[in-house]
Amino acid sequence: MPKTPVTFTLNGAETGIFVDPGLNLLEALRREAGDLSPKFGCGQGTCGACTILINGEPHLSCLTLAVAAQDADISTTGGLAPGADLHPLQQAFADGFAAQCGFCTSGMLMAAKALLDRNPRPTRDEVVEAISGNLCRCTGYDPIVDAILDAAARVQGRVTA
């Protein structure tokens, strides 16, 4: 089967890969583009571990065809930290002990980033809703919700400072 070229922006970098037409974006990012931060948890669109941002909106990469990413602007947790320092969300997750096995963390961070990008001052309910498609088996969720609220506060603090 002939492979199809797909080009997109991945965490700010122009990226081009060749994929089988039926390949999902999760596998394409991991195997072809080498970004291992989105994770395979179910392949059914029910766990959220593969969450990435496409043009700023959260998407389940396991349910997205790779060829559909043509010309898209894709962000993943692998590109979340602007440099050596952590992004406020990453820092809040670390400080708040909001990860145990860490397998859901990438997807959680992307879902949270999408929320904070469109709503910098979310309520607790809004945070809960934003991550309600992301499963975590370790933490009991509250530390994750707390960390996202903490990150929002940190960003606000930086803005007002």
Binding site: S37, T77, F93, C101, G102, F103, L135
Partner: protein, 619 residues
């Protein structure tokens, strides 16, 4: 959410001024987690990675008349069809690595399937989709056999036999088809009780559901070895299991793991690792065997179902004087770890309470169900649900506050437990008091004054005369010669005070491996006493290999604790004085010469042989 650390409690038993211990240090792995950089097994990339999928039984129990994989072999991308005959040593039981149980499960089943989802063949292809498509193209002619799904139906005389290694549908515990716990005489005590409280409880199977599914990637490495990246919870269990099933020297296996996306007990079974390594051996290419979520839920072994019946004899004041328990672990079609749950659970009975008469029968039963395995709280979660619901029933019948009832019956330091070991380091009473206090659940002054460190009496500390029976010998129940599953009236008496010795930590190999007593942070008698003692006599001395013993099931070969003379003091032997090496402890295989060029298991390929205790497994 709030958390408080009650440093005021047991304060005199701890040094709270340690340098690093007790400090809220950040996790070593957190940077990787939040950057998406933590490398789980599937985050190791290999060029030309092949994908493996299994063809699975659609039936609970069926004979395989024929398999036609011809069409599948010709499908695009298919590199190899893996048949049961490709597995060099296609029979194993997980706990053979610690010498417990008979080999009873094939990696790929060649004649009969015993649960829905049992794999009979695997296909390796360039993509996962191609492997799936090829699996769908395999034609199997099944002869459906009668099945049994209920534990108590499975031990009835007419039930279909599930697993040929245990034809009676029960695991063999010594001479019996169940684990017995006998302490005092529960049957006699029931006659003295003011109330009898009986009930039955059940827990259905539960999925571990880690977000990362089970899987492994294996690839040829240098020096004729194979690397295997795995999400296992037990690296050497998986390595040893792969070496045994594939009849390959362990020195040719290089297992890498340790960073796992959740496990909860579901990643001990070591199935994906031998499958992936077999794929790499057969194709010479990197092969991934990864369960999808559907397999994780319905093929991956769950926390098995349990059924429990409890009967308590209770005095008017709430004192429980007798408890009888009958438990059934639903192992599914193969043993995996369920046999261990039976013994671990029985040692836990009757829960954290001092009850002078206890009898329990715990069964590990085979049914035509997905094999069960470990999960968080393994062997305990189900029976604790039963016991604690039952305690509420008892409280209601006796008309006593539920927490007060627990404190009244709670075990205290120095009490004798039903498995004939002394309770120590208890804290149930304090836990009850603190939880009640947080919830504003007012307890009486007597309950608030109670302590785990007081309240034991010579009577509570002693081992009573015990009624024994020989009910439930292997083969008798299925033959209809054993009437009941519950503990029966004893036919002979074991004198009071009878017990063996405690099993304690093997002392340090060399004195300078012993932490200095002042650096322990609490009182550890072993550290105090053994700090500068000469190196201990050799740890468990291996007995020479005895062919007669080797023919027995491993469980039967496990030595029983030596009995003290009935005339011996009724007080238990303090653990510290029990440092003499056990004469005939399990590990038997020591004298095997080291032959690095021979497969790992040569000479130890028999039921119960342990590859880790043998001394034969070296690199």
């Amino acid at each position: 959410m709030s958390i408080e650390f009650r440093k005021d409690l047991f304060a005199d038993e701890r040094d709270d001024n340690l340098n690093e211990i007790g400090k809220p240090k950040q996790r070593q792995d957190i940077g990787g987690h939040v950057r998406g950089r933590t490398a789980y097994y599937d985050d190791h990339l290999f060029d030309g990675l092949l994908h493996m999928r299994c063809l699975r039984s659609p039936h609970h129990h069926a004979r395989i008349r024929s398999v036609d994989s011809g069409a599948a072999e010709r499908m695009p991308g298919v590199r190899r069809v893996v048949h049961p005959s490709d597995v060099p040593n296609n029979l194993n039981t997980l706990l053979s690595l610690i010498g417990f149980g008979k080999d009873d499960e094939q990696l790929l089943s060649d004649q009969v399937v015993r649960y829905m989802g049992e794999p009979i063949l695997a296909i390796i292809a360039d993509t996962e989709a191609q492997a799936r498509a090829a699996c769908a193209a395999v034609r199997v002619d099944w002869e459906v056999l009668p099945h049994v799904l209920d534990v108590e139906e499975a031990i009835a005389p007419a039930a279909p036999s599930v697993n040929p290694a245990y034809a009676n549908n029960t695991f063999d515990y010594g001479p019996y088809d169940h684990v017995k716990l006998r302490f005092g005489d529960a049957q006699a005590a029931f006659a003295q009780a003011d109330h009898i409280v009986e009930a039955e409880y059940e827990m259905s199977p539960i999925e571990q559901a880690p977000i990362e599914t089970c899987g492994a990637i294996a690839a040829p490495e240098t020096a004729d070895r194979f690397v295997c990246h795995t999400g296992t919870q037990a690296l050497f269990f998986s390595l040893g299991t792969a070496a045994k099933l594939l009849n390959i020297a362990s020195s040719r296996l290089h297992f890498i793991g340790g960073t796992v996306g959740g496990g909860f007990g579901g990643k001990v079974d070591s199935i994906t690792e031998p499958m992936a390594v077999l794929g790499a051996i057969l194709t010479g290419k990197p092969v991934k065997f990864q369960w999808d979520r559907e397999e994780e839920m319905q093929v991956g072994a769950p926390r098995g179902a349990e059924r429990w019946r409890i009967k308590d004899g209770v005095m008017a004041d709430g004192t429980i004087i007798a408890r009888e328990l009958t438990g059934f672990f639903d192992a599914g079609a193969y043993t995996r770890l369920s046999s261990y749950a039976g013994t671990k659970c029985t040692g836990h009975l009757p829960g954290p309470y001092s009850i002078p008469n206890v009898a329990a029968n715990t069964f590990c039963v085979y049914t035509n169900r997905t094999p069960a395995t470990a999960m968080r709280g393994f062997g305990i979660t189900g029976v604790d649900f039963a016991i604690e619901c039952h305690m509420d029933r008892v409280a209601e019948v006796a008309g006593i506050d539920p927490i007060s009832l627990r404190i009244k019956n709670a075990y205290r330091d120095g009490d004798m437990k039903a498995h004939r070991r002394v309770a120590k380091n208890c804290a149930l009473v304090e836990s009850c008091q603190v939880a009640a206090g947080k919830a504003g659940w007012i307890l009486g002054t007597e309950d608030m004054a109670a302590s785990s460190m007081a309240g034991s009496t010579p009577e509570r500390a002693s081992i009573p005369q015990t009624a024994l029976d020989e009910d439930g010998k292997i083969n008798e129940r299925r033959a209809g010669r054993t009437a009941t599953t519950s503990p029966v009236k004893g036919t002979k008496q074991l004198p009071a005070g009878t017990h063996g010795r405690s099993h304690v930590a093997v002392p340090v190999q060399r004195p300078d491996m012993q932490i200095a007593p002042e650096r322990v942070g609490h009182d550890d008698p072993a550290a105090r006493g053994a700090a500068h003692a000469p190196a201990p006599v050799a740890p468990p001395v291996a007995a020479p290999l005895q062919p007669a013993a080797a023919a027995l099931p491993a469980a039967a070969a496990t030595p029983t604790p030596p009995r003290a003379q009935p005339a011996a003091a009724s007080q238990p032997t303090p653990p510290a004085s029990a440092a003499t090496p056990p004469a005939a402890q399990a590990p038997q295989l020591q004298a095997k010469p080291y032959k690095p060029d021979e497969p790992f298991q040569r000479g130890v390929n028999r039921p119960g042989a342990s590859r880790f205790l043998s001394g034969a497994r070296r690199r």
